[in-house]
């Protein structure tokens, strides 16, 4: 039995005490929605490989209000992931030097968000074109 009882500073809820870390935990937390959404798609793919009847069960299941509510939450969370992904990008990528000057943070974030918006539009048009 060890009689030493060194003081260990409690760390419970450390991130709730600082708005910077609250934001950090929220943007890390978006991963839960990314994982759950990937799980839903994987489940759909497994159903697809088992034939039409199985696929339709999965497709009908998506109309469940709980699934709709989940997807609305996931849409908000993953959109937030998009925003933070490009917001921290100036710090997660090597500096970009253009004409001897470092590309400003705003240009990287703004450029990334513009590319995301364009990619989303292309995806929507591609799906619309393929389904028609």
């Amino acid at each position: 039995m060890n009689k030493r009882r060194p003081y260990v500073r409690p760390m419970d809820g450390w991130w709730r005490r600082n708005p910077f870390f609250v934001e950090y935990m929220i943007h890390e937390g978006t991963a839960l929605f990314v994982a759950a959404y990937a799980g839903i798609l994987l489940n759909g793919l497994l159903h697809l490989s088992r034939g039409e009847a199985a696929w339709n069960v999965w497709l009908e299941g998506l109309k469940n209000p709980l699934y709709i509510a989940f997807h609305v939450l996931a849409l908000v969370a993953i959109s937030y992931h998009t925003y933070t992904w490009f917001k921290i990008m100036p710090r997660t990528m090597p500096p970009v030097i253009v004409g001897g000057k470092r590309l400003p943070d705003g240009a990287i974030t703004g450029g990334g968000l513009a590319v995301a918006a364009a990619a989303s539009l292309v995806l929507l048009l591609a799906v619309w074109g393929m389904a028609r």
Partner: protein, 122 residues
């Protein structure tokens, strides 16, 4: 002292995390909107957008297969990496077990997706 330095496997996981993060940032919101909201509610897109015939044709196409695998696998690897590294932040001292659970889950999902895509055929 060991003669050969052990190479870290971290860059592999980080690359998968980065690729999945980028893909989900670019296409994630629109995919959720299409598959989770617009199609089930019959908004915005034709009613048979995700019909069996359409999805079968898409998943039998080589490009379609690649797209489906990339979305599912990279989303999973991205999330696994992020969740694994957040465990420490919420006071769970993540060891080898947590690593196996997170990355193993992503690996399992990847294998299931690849298997299904092969089972669907060309």
């Amino acid at each position: 002292m060991k003669r050969t330095l052990k190479r870290s496997n971290a860059p592999i996981f980080w690359a998968l995390f980065g690729a999945g993060g980028m893909l989900s940032a670019l296409l994630g919101p629109m995919l959720v909107l299409i598959t989770g909201i617009a199609v089930p509610l019959g908004l915005l897109l034709p009613a048979d957008t995700m019909s069996y015939a359409n999805m079968l044709a898409f998943s039998q196409n080589v490009i379609g297969k690649g797209f489906i695998l990339a979305i599912i696998a990279l989303f999973l690897w991205h999330a696994a990496h992020r969740i694994f590294h957040s465990l420490h932040d919420i006071g769970i001292h993540a060891g080898i077990g947590a690593k196996l659970l997170c990355y193993g889950g992503a690996m399992l999902g990847t294998l299931f997706a690849a298997y299904s895509l092969l089972a669907i055929g060309f």
